[in-house]
Each structure stands twice: as C-alpha cells, then as structure tokens.
Amino acid sequence: MTAEPHPHDRPGPALRAEALEALLLERGLIDPKVVDGLINRYANDVGPLNGAKVVARAWTDPDYKARLLEEGTAAIAEFGFSGPQGEHIVVVENTPAVHHVVVCTLCSCYPWPVLGLPPAWYKDPAYRARIVREPRTLLAEMGLTLGDDVEINVWDSSSEVRYFVLPERPEGTDDLPEEELAALVTRDAMVGVARVAAPVA
C-alpha cells in the first residue's frame, strides 16, 4: 500500500463492499433494487410498538397500572423494554377530565424502544412550538377536538425524562383480551395527539 492515498481512492471497506455486492449480483443472489428498498424501509421503520403492550396490560390489570403510574421505567422493564440510555420513563394517564400530550421542545427526545420511531411531525419546529403555545388549537388541527372543560397538560421530554401517555381505553372493549387491545393502540395515542379508537365491528 502506498503511504499517500490517492484522492480518488476509496476507503478499504467501501471498496470491498462494492466488490462483494458486484459478485453477489453477478451470481444472481441479490437484486440492488431490493437492497435499496430494504435500506429505505429500515430507515423509516417505526419499530415494534412495544408501548401498546404496556398500555393494554395497564387497561386490564389494575395492579400493573398502579405500578406503571408510580414508577414507569420499572413497570415497562417488566416487559424487558428499556430506554436506549436508561432514561426515566414517566407515564401520564389520560382521563375524561385531563388530557396529556408529549413534546420535546429542545430537540426530539422520544422513548423509541417503547414507542418506535418518532413521527416526522414530532421533530417539526412548528409542532414543538405550537403544542406548548396553543395545544387545544393544534390538537384540533391534528384531528383531536377536546372540550373546553378538558384540562390539557403538555409534557416536555428531555434527555433525562421521557414521557409516555396512557390513553383512555375505548368504550365497548370490555370483552377484548389484552392482545387484541394492544392492537388498537397507536403511536399517536401514546404521544397524546389522538384517542384510541374502538374496534371496527
């Protein structure tokens, strides 16, 4: 190897990766378009909605719900989920009288191992500013209209504490098992910008 790399030289692994891909392509083992598509899908993958399982357990098990609201990090860890750097996760419960919604005004802190990838709007400066200034108006624009008598609490996640909303259990779901309940819970509901809809009959 020469001591002075040519400016057009590629770094070692890049060249070797290109060689490997070319050989696999020639032998019909990969299709570059499939590879492109997979990279793209993983880059935009929401991840497992582990939080939905937590919500469904809280809806069906009052003792679990009490533990979850008392010490969110520990109760979520019962499922084997944790924050990427061990942040505290604080769970806030929505009720008919009080609605909670989560934001990260500084950047886009988000309990992703529990909630999956943050939605694009969560990182949008407009969401981060307006949800604090005019939460009722912004939530209505996002499709969640709350009565004037409902108190709105906005929680600002940080690198130390990440908030997670326990949404209200939809009506008419008393007979559903935990697993089917979990399938109803959406990411938006756990951020607090939507309600959990009742299952379509």
Binding site: L24, L29, I30, G47, P84, E179
Partner: protein, 124 residues
C-alpha cells in the same frame, strides 16, 4: 400486532448486536455501511441464511474486535457486521474471500472518475 410484521428481520434494540441508532433512527456513518446492511437482510430474506446464524457471526465478530481492542477506541459496528457477513458467506461456500480479494484489486485499479454512470455515455 406489530407494525414491523412485514419486515424480514426485527432488529435487536438492546445489547451489543443492536445497530447504532440516534433517537430511534438507524445511523449509517458511510454509504457502504447501509449497503452491507441491506445486502445482508436481502440475502436472509431470500433464504440464503437464517437470521440467527448471521447474528451468531455478528456477536462473534464484535467479541473478536473487543478482545483485540481492550481500550475500546475506534469501534465501528458495521465493520464487525461486514466481517460477520463475509465469514458466513465463506463458511457456506457462497462467496470465497479470494474472489472478493480479486474483485477488490480490479476495482482499485480503475482510473479516477470511474464512478460515472458508464451506461449513459461518457462526456469527457
């Protein structure tokens, strides 16, 4: 149950074999890292190898790196990933390292500016 059900592999989110992420999003520091990531998943998707077999190689590659770098400096997750992929393809006799070496030498010998699309005609 999960929105990832149609992805061929559910990636680890914990432990040494989990890929680096920033606030949940996968982080590739160079384009080749995403290529070898995508190639690996594509090969698994086509049934060339089971994901657990790749993961075993990945964990072994990370352990080898750690054993050779007690100070932990300069760690690159995808360097280990790439090593694991090559080891698996070698062990399965799908791709020999010698073939890859040869192709690498050929590619390195290309003149500067070789990255242009050869099919669209040269405009030199």
């Amino acid at each position: 149950m999960s929105v990832t059900e149609d992805l061929p592999v559910e990636l680890d989110v914990d432990g040494p074999s989990s890929p680096p992420r920033a606030n949940g999003e996968l982080v590739f520091s160079e384009p080749w890292e995403s290529r070898v990531f995508g190639i690996t998943i594509a090969l698994h998707q086509d049934g060339v190898f089971a994901w657990d077999d790749f993961k075993e190689q990945l964990i072994a590659a990370i352990a080898r790196w750690e054993a050779g770098h007690p100070d932990g400096e300069g760690y690159r997750y995808y360097t280990c990933w790439f090593e694991a992929l090559q080891a698996l393809l070698r062990d399965r006799r799908i791709l020999s390292p010698v073939d890859v070496d040869e192709r690498e030498v050929e590619l390195a010998a290309r003149p500067p500016g070789h990255d242009h699309d050869h099919d669209s005609g040269h405009r030199h």
